[in-house]
């Protein structure tokens, strides 16, 4: 049991970063399609089962994996050329290691941290590895020995360096507010109330939140800051010369970096795994009431979802009857979950600690996916910034704003502490 609890955050890190990539690609394509009044990928199927199109991203992944590994003959530094995608991938993957997925769990007098890397230096780790991600891009662009690639990687470098400053400074104001650099303590801090609102970072520090979210977009090289791969000007930017799984690693790294940034935004500004107004202790004390609420919620949402599936799953594929299978699976799963939950809700067993931990995982996942949706939504709304506009926004607007924010925060924090 204790080994499992130690390994659990590691498994979750793998799930949140690697396993969500196909889902994110699917989400990106489907959301983009719906925004543009299209349908998106909906045909790829395994014996008639399409899972709403997720099978398509699995098929795309398989294609990338089984493609021929191609090495352009003009490349002189093969080692750097091959190392670049792995650096980009590793650094964005390692960024995830410090995110707390749930509060510390105490079972039999033993406390387990729900971070893959149980360190108090979470923010510093994030900054270090988020900055390292661009090294993969620089190295890839340089080792490709291609003008477009080097232009793309130069753009990425300049952009990340400019935005790192504003990002670090907006983080400083959050550190002053929370008075700690441990991510888990920050989340605990956010379970308090601020007047009538939950004391989430976005309510305490709206300016820092906006600056951080904007800089996070720039750090992950996502639209509207994706000049590094501006296909209208420089073909594909830094990954012009890459193919097969080497390109795949760059591609996956972008999504994992997005997931990691989203996870940090959730942790810093959206209360992490906390439900608003409810601290971990409250949840454990009123666990039965919470369970009844979840049971109602599960029943209502699965019924709504079933109605939606029945209305929209009209394309008839060869093979199994999709709607029937989905209905069976959803109804079966919901009933099973309700039975298990009512067993504990009626007081037959006590699993409040583990139950609250699972609830916090779920809350974190929901918030993380909301952030993913935000990233995608912004990408398909805003056009790409011109390169000089990017730099102007970073240095002329975001940097002074974050400096002003630090001053104001420091004055308020000192004033409040002095008043007390």
């Amino acid at each position: 049991m204790s080994t499992f609890l130690i390994l659990l955050p590691l498994i979750l890190t793998l799930l949140f970063s690697l396993a969500t990539v196909p889902i994110l690609v699917w989400m990106e394509r489907r959301v983009a399609a719906l925004i543009q009044d299209r349908l998106g990928p909906n045909r790829c199927n395994v014996n008639g089962i399409r899972l709403g199109g997720i099978v398509q991203s699995v098929a795309d992944m398989m294609k990338l994996v089984f493609k021929e590994e191609f090495l352009p003959s003009h490349i002189k530094n093969k080692f750097y050329y091959l190392a670049a995608p792995s650096i980009a991938f590793m650094s964005s993957f390692l960024t995830f290691m410090v995110i707390p997925y749930a509060d510390n769990v105490t079972i039999n007098e033993q406390t387990f941290t729900m971070q893959a890397l149980p360190t108090d230096l979470g923010v510093l780790w994030f900054l270090a590895f988020a900055g390292l991600g661009v090294y993969g891009i620089i190295l890839g662009g340089w080792a490709s020995h291609n003008k477009y690639a080097i232009l793309g990687s130069m753009r990425a470098t300049a952009q990340v360096i400019s935005y790192e400053v504003a990002m670090g400074l907006s983080l400083v104001s959050m550190l002053i507010t929370y008075g700690t650099i441990s991510l888990n303590e920050m989340v605990t801090y956010q379970s308090q109330s601020f007047f009538i609102f939950p004391a989430w970072g976005i309510i305490l520090q709206p300016l820092a939140a906006i600056i951080f979210i904007v800089t996070a977009f720039a750090e992950t090289n996502r639209a509207p800051f994706d000049a590094a791969e501006g296909e209208s000007e420089i073909v594909a930017g830094y990954h012009t010369e890459y193919g097969a799984m080497k390109f795949g690693l760059f591609f996956v790294a972008e999504y994992i970096a997005m997931a990691a940034s989203g996870a940090l935004i959730v942790t810093l500004f959206l209360g992490g795994y906390q439900l608003p107004y409810l601290s971990t202790q409250d949840l454990i004390n009123h666990f039965e009431l919470v369970l009844w609420l979840i049971i109602t919620f599960a029943a209502v949402t699965s019924l709504l979802f079933l109605a939606w599936v029945k209305k929209h799953n009209i394309l008839v594929m060869n093979g199994l009857n999709e709607t029937k299978i989905y209905t069976t699976v959803i109804v079966g799963f919901t009933l099973f979950a309700i039975i298990v939950m009512s067993y504990y809700a009626l007081g037959f067993g006590n699993a409040s600690t583990v139950g609250v931990m699972l609830l916090q995982f779920a809350v974190f996942t929901v918030k993380l996916f909301f952030l993913h949706f935000l990233f995608i939504w912004v990408r398909w709304t805003l056009p790409r910034f011109r390169y000089d506009q990017t730099q102007k926004l970073g240095w002329n607007i975001l940097l002074p704003l974050s400096l002003v924010n630090i001053f104001i925060t420091a004055i308020v924090v000192v004033g409040v502490n002095y008043g007390n």
Binding site: V31, D37, H312
Partner: protein, 172 residues
Amino acid sequence: MGIKVVKRHGGTFLEKMYVQAVFGGMKTTLKHFTANLSDASNIPTLCYPEQLPTDITPRYRGVHRLTHRKSDDSIACVACFMCATACPAKCIEIVATEREDGVDEKMPAIFNIDLLACVFCGYCVEACPCDAIRMDSGLYSVIGDKREDFIYDKAKLLSIKGISKEEFSLAK
């Protein structure tokens, strides 16, 4: 006077911050997203092999057809080679022969169109003096297993029906 002063946008501080514009744009895209998610039937996408297009008009340049004469339903073509000459892809092969039934003097013995070489430009239809070749069949998909399947011969071209009201050749 006739001078209209156009109000310039984007000069004020509020507009320069782009916040309003960004949120306005995001509101628009979210509206599309939620509307399409709650009711996907409004999406104009055609699920092609199952749903077929309904908006093909007689002016659509589809697969060619050879028209018939209204008087006796025989072939309208007189093998004048105008279409084959006008064709930029050189995809029309005609072998002329004498017409024995007294309706006209000449007719094609062989009339082959190689649809793999054809660029569907419609020049043959414009060149034809007898309204004998037309592209108003409305057929947009040509399918075959081998190259020979795409060479449409005289019998095949004569058998294709048009979707316009004018079934027969209009030439006198």
